[in-house]
């Protein structure tokens, strides 16, 4: 028998109560782990998607970062003429209304990109990272390339036929980038896209730009903004920053909300431990009467808090992991990112809660007067 063992026994002695206080910590820690893990996952996906999706610079109608507003193809000539621009590639974005109303799909599976295969090759985007089959070619008409996740979702192989906007498309290639947003993408030739969407043949939604010299993206974007009217050029690093700032804010809020949840858990621990100390007044009095010091008692109760925190933390991390798995099942292809650092932080947080929750009860226990405790029946 040792100190830890008696503490362990003490905890096990009141199973229901221990379970409840563990639950408090567990919920708090689960929330932290799940929310931060998801936000980490979104961050890494969202961040590394930007470069490959938009090239060095993306140009859209001014003020339309999240919506799809059409532009006239003529802007392309203007952009092409700007100093420092190497290649450009147009994009037409079609919303797959059927997929949207069908529900249960990932975030980027609602959009289908109309791309120019030749320009795409020059600019070197993910539409050229084909794992099976081939990329789109200039001569292609009703051909489609799809991301590997989307292919898995719809059980598509190279050569499969898919119906889209009343037309039969043949899947000629499957892309795999490792990014869950990218891998749900679909792309078809740009003129076919305009045709099925029924828009004018000179409509585009976005122009992606590759600069001549890496490092000049900002400068070139500024030039585009100054020279070409009614468009907004954003560098991919700017977009990355915007998204990462947004996600940082979410993460901070996540921590704050979870911290509140966990502190409630901590108060729960304090409450249950205080009750158990009061219940054990006589027992603690006996410990002191037979030679335990105030510090020995303090240590025992704090250790109980520590153990509660530890177990609560372990359960919480497990719970958080399960939550993210459930979340990933809902959001296809998504990978939450529970880093070792996050696990460490969550564990530390849980243990700190247990110990802090234990301080007051431990102090109470240490100040029990053995004489009073023994006289009280």
């Amino acid at each position: 028998m040792n100190f830890l063992e008696i503490v362990y026994k003490n905890i096990l002695r009141r199973k229901a109560r221990t379970f409840l206080s563990l639950l408090g910590i567990m919920i708090g820690v689960s929330a932290i782990v799940a929310l931060v893990g998801v936000s980490n996952g979104l961050k890494s996906s969202a961040l590394d998607v930007m470069g490959s999706l938009t090239g060095d610079i993306s140009v859209t109608t001014s003020g339309t970062f999240f919506t799809v507003e059409p532009m006239n193809e003529s802007v392309m000539d203007k952009i092409k003429g700007i100093k420092g621009v190497k290649y450009i590639a147009p994009v037409v974005i079609i919303i797959d209304v059927e997929a949207m109303t069908g529900g249960g799909q990932g975030p980027s599976s609602f959009e289908v990109y109309g791309i120019d295969p030749v320009a795409e090759k020059l600019i070197g985007t993910s539409a050229t990272e084909v794992k099976e089959g081939r990329a789109l070619q200039a001569s292609d008409r009703y051909k489609m390339i799809v991301g590997s996740t989307y292919a898995k979702m719809k059980d598509l192989k190279v050569g499969s036929k898919v119906k889209f906007y009343e037309r039969q498309f043949e899947v000629v290639g499957i892309m795999e980038t490792g990014n869950f947003i990218m891998d749900q993408m679909r792309a078809i030739p740009i003129d076919v896209a305009r045709e099925v969407a029924g828009v004018d043949p000179d409509i585009i939604h976005m122009v992606r730009v590759k600069v001549e010299k890496p490092g000049t993206e900002k400068e070139v974007a500024l030039r585009i903004n100054l020279i070409v009217p009614d468009v907004e050029a954003t560098t991919s690093s700017e977009q990355t920053e915007q998204i990462s700032e947004f996600l940082d804010t979410i993460e901070t809020m996540t921590w704050a909300i979870s911290a509140i949840a966990a502190i409630v858990g901590g108060i729960g621990i304090m409450n249950t431990m205080l009750m158990s100390v009061i219940e054990r007044t006589k027992e603690i009095g006996v410990f002191k009467a037979v030679g335990w010091s105030n510090n020995d008692v303090l240590k025992m109760i704090l250790l109980e808090g520590f153990l509660l925190g530890l177990f609560g933390g372990i359960l919480g991390i497990g719970g958080g992991k399960l939550t993210t798995i459930a979340f990933a099942a809902f959001l296809r292809g998504f990978q939450a990112n529970i880093t070792l650092v996050l696990v460490g932080e969550a564990m530390l947080f849980a243990v700190a809660l247990g110990v802090f929750g234990g301080i007051y009860p431990a102090y109470k226990a240490a100040s029990i007067d053995p004489i009073d405790a023994l006289r009280n029946e």
């Binding site: 028998m1 040792n2 100190f3 008696i6 026994k9 003490n10 002695r13 006589k282 027992e283 006996v286 410990f287 002191k288 009467a289 037979v290 030679g291 335990w292 010091s293 105030n294 020995d296 240590k299 007067d369 053995p370 004489i371 023994l374």
Partner: protein, 224 residues
């Protein structure tokens, strides 16, 4: 050696002052076997608590091996309890969730337990006739057995002074006599100072000196 000098312990309850001990002076030599008797409420437990360094007096001195308990802070008194004193409480006060063996080991827990100490605890349980019950919880033991576990616990630290508050109070005469035998043996073999509180005059026959308490004062003293 234990010396009590004009020891007073008063309790104040509202406006009433209860004089639990009202000027007690005794000298107890090392290796003495002493009994304290007196009616209920006469201050026996209070006296034992004072000698056992469980409490500090209102006035007067409790000097144990030259140390005046009244002069040291309550928070340090545990050292005396741990090192010099073995206490058998009026009701055994065993921890219900622990086995007999674990209960015996409780005083040693803060400093850590090694196999040697385990062995000693087992030996003590054997000495009080409970070797077979070492792994039983208090709820599985009879009143007399519990009292004997409490005695083993009091002895685990090799105390120089053993204080027993009505050790035979809740057991039959035969078990009571067995308990007294153990104490007597301890007294003769290790020269341990033993002070028992009892209201059973039969039990006092084993001891060398009887102190009669009444209303917190020494009524009379008899040497046997």
């Amino acid at each position: 050696m234990i010396e009590l000098i004009d020891l007073k312990k008063y309790y104040k309850i509202g406006d009433i002052i209860v004089k639990a001990l009202d000027g007690v002076s005794i000298k107890i030599e090392e290796g003495e076997f002493l009994s304290i008797v007196g009616p209920s409420g006469s201050g026996k437990t209070t006296l034992l608590d004072q000698i056992g360094a469980l409490d500090t007096p209102t006035s007067g001195s409790v000097i144990i091996d030259g140390i005046d308990i009244a002069k040291i802070p309550k928070s340090i008194l545990y050292m005396l309890r741990r090192e010099k004193i073995g206490f058998v409480f009026q009701n055994h006060n065993l921890i219900a969730s622990l086995t007999a063996l674990e209960n015996v080991l409780i005083p040693l827990l803060p400093e850590g337990i090694n196999p040697k100490k385990y062995e000693r605890a087992l030996k003590l349980l054997e000495a009080v006739g409970l070797k077979e019950r070492a792994l039983h919880k208090p709820s599985e033991l009879s009143a007399g057995q519990k009292q004997r576990v409490a005695m083993a616990r009091a002895l685990i630290n090799n105390p120089k002074i053993v204080l027993a508050d009505e050790p035979t109070g809740s057991v039959d005469t035969k078990t009571g006599q067995e308990i007294m035998e153990i104490l007597k043996q301890l007294n003769t073999e290790f020269n341990t100072t033993i002070i028992i509180v009892t209201h059973d005059l039969e039990m006092t026959r084993n001891t060398e000196r009887i102190i009669f308490l009444r209303d917190g004062k020494i009524d009379k003293e008899t040497k046997i």
